[in-house]
C-alpha cells in the first residue's frame, strides 16, 4: 500500500517536472499560435475552425502552411499531402521520444505520441536520460498543447489589435528557443559542436535543391549517421580529454 502511494507520488512529481521543463514552450507557442490564428482568420477559417485545427492537428508549421495554401485557393488533397510531407520528420522525433519512455503500454505511448512536436522533442531528448519517463513527457506535452491552443484562441480574439512591430518580433521566439536548448549541450564536446555546424551548413545547401521539409529530414538523418562514426554524444564538460 505504502509502495503504491510512493509510486503515485513520484508519478505526480514526474508530471510536474515535465510541466516545469515545458514552461519555456509557453513563450515559444503563445506568439506563434497568435500569428497562426491571424493567418487562418485571414485565409477564411472561422474562429471555431481556427481553434479546432490547433486542437486536432497540433503542428504549428504545417497549420501556418495550410492557412497560406488555403488562402491561395489550393486543393484539399494538395494541402493534406504537403502537411504529411512536412510532418514526416515527427516519425524520427517520435521514435527518439518513445525509445526513452520505458514504462507504459502501447495505449499510453500512443497518447504521448500525439504530443511529439519539434519543441517537446528537443526539450525531452536533451534532458538527462534518468529524468525521462512517460509522466514527465505527459507533463511536458500538456503545457505545450495548452499553450498552443491558448495562443490560437488568443490570436482569434486579438486579430487586428497587436502592433505590427510586436507581432513581427515574435517570429524569433521559436529559433531563440531551439538555440538556447541546443548550445549548452555542446559545451566541452568539440566534435559534437562541429557536427552541429556541419549539419547547419549541409541543410542550408540542401535547401537550395529540394523543398525545405525534405532537406530537414535528409540532413537530420545523414548527419546523425555520419556522427555515429566520429562523435561521442555522451562526452560532457567534465569528461574533457
Amino acid at each position: 500500500m505504502q509502495r503504491e502511494t510512493g509510486a503515485a507520488c513520484s508519478r505526480a512529481k514526474q508530471y510536474l517536472r515535465g510541466v516545469k521543463a515545458g514552461l519555456p514552450v509557453i513563450l515559444g507557442f503563445l506568439p506563434v499560435g497568435v500569428a497562426y490564428a491571424i493567418m487562418a482568420r485571414q485565409a477564411g477559417f472561422s474562429g471555431g475552425e481556427t481553434v479546432l485545427m490547433s486542437l486536432a492537428v497540433f503542428a504549428g508549421a504545417s497549420q501556418m502552411m495550410a492557412a497560406g495554401m488555403y488562402a491561395q485557393g489550393a486543393g484539399l488533397a494538395a494541402i493534406i499531402l504537403a502537411t504529411f510531407i512536412l510532418n514526416l520528420r515527427h516519425l524520427i522525433m517520435s521514435a527518439c521520444v518513445v525509445r526513452r519512455i520505458r514504462e507504459g503500454g502501447v495505449g499510453m505511448k500512443l497518447l504521448a505520441a500525439f504530443g511529439v512536436t519539434d519543441e517537446t522533442f528537443a526539450i525531452f531528448t536533451t534532458q538527462r536520460e534518468e529524468a525521462c519517463s512517460l509522466y514527465n513527457f505527459l507533463g511536458l506535452m500538456s503545457v505545450a498543447y495548452a499553450a498552443w491552443v491558448a495562443g490560437s484562441a488568443l490570436g482569434v480574439a486579438a486579430s487586428g489589435f497587436l502592433p505590427p512591430a510586436l507581432s513581427a518580433s515574435l517570429g524569433i521566439a521559436m529559433y531563440a528557443m531551439f538555440i538556447s536548448i541546443l548550445l549548452p549541450g555542446l559545451k566541452g564536446n568539440l566534435r559534437l559542436g562541429l557536427l552541429v555546424l556541419f549539419t547547419a551548413c549541409f541543410n542550408t545547401a540542401l535547401s537550395q535543391w529540394m523543398p525545405s521539409s525534405w532537406a530537414l529530414i535528409a540532413s537530420t538523418l545523414f548527419c546523425a549517421l555520419l556522427g555515429v562514426f566520429f562523435v561521442d554524444p555522451n562526452k560532457k564538460e567534465e569528461g574533457e580529454r
Binding site: 515559444g28 472561422s46 475552425e49 479546432l52 485545427m53 486536432a56 492537428v57 495550410a66 484539399l76 493534406i80 502537411t83 510532418n87 515527427h90 516519425l91 524520427i92 517520435s94 521514435a95 518513445v98 525509445r99 503500454g105 505511448k109 505520441a113 500525439f114 519539434d118 522533442f121 528537443a122 536533451t126 512591430a165 510586436l166 518580433s169 515574435l170 517570429g171 524569433i172 521566439a173 529559433y175 531563440a176 528557443m177 531551439f178 538555440i179 538556447s180 536548448i181 541546443l182 555542446l186 552541429v196 555546424l197 549539419t199 547547419a200 549541409f202 541543410n203 535547401s207 530537414l216 540532413s219 537530420t220 538523418l221 546523425a224 549517421l225 556522427g227 555515429v228 561521442d232 555522451n234
Partner: protein, 100 residues
C-alpha cells in the same frame, strides 16, 4: 461536412500517423549500441537543421532580424541563462531593432 472541417480532419490524420507509428512499432525493442548512438545524435542534428537556414528568414526582407535575435539568444544560452530568459531577450532585441 464543410470544406474546412474536411481539411482539418485530413490534416489531423496525416499528422498523427508518423507520430503514432513508432509508439506501435518500437514498443519494447532493444537496439545495438551503434543504433542507440544514432538516436542520441538525432536531437542535435535535427535542431541544427531546424535553426539553419530558417533563422535567416524570420523576416524575409531583413536578414539581420533573425541573425541579431539568434546571436543574442546564443550568447545568453552559452552562459547557461535559462531558456525562458533567452527567448524573452531575443524578442526584446528584435523589437528594439524594429524601432530603429
Amino acid at each position: 461536412m464543410s470544406r474546412a472541417l474536411l481539411l482539418i480532419f485530413g490534416m489531423a490524420a496525416v499528422t498523427y500517423l508518423p507520430r503514432a507509428l513508432p509508439a506501435v512499432l518500437l514498443n519494447r525493442l532493444r537496439f545495438q549500441p551503434q543504433v542507440e548512438k544514432f538516436f542520441q545524435l538525432i536531437p542535435y542534428t535535427a535542431m541544427a537543421a531546424l535553426i539553419f537556414p530558417g533563422v535567416l528568414a524570420v523576416d524575409t526582407g531583413r536578414v539581420e532580424i533573425g541573425v541579431v535575435g539568434g546571436v543574442a539568444a546564443g550568447i545568453l544560452a552559452w552562459r547557461r541563462v535559462p531558456v525562458l530568459v533567452c527567448v524573452v531577450a531575443a524578442i526584446a532585441v528584435d523589437f528594439l531593432l524594429y524601432q530603429l
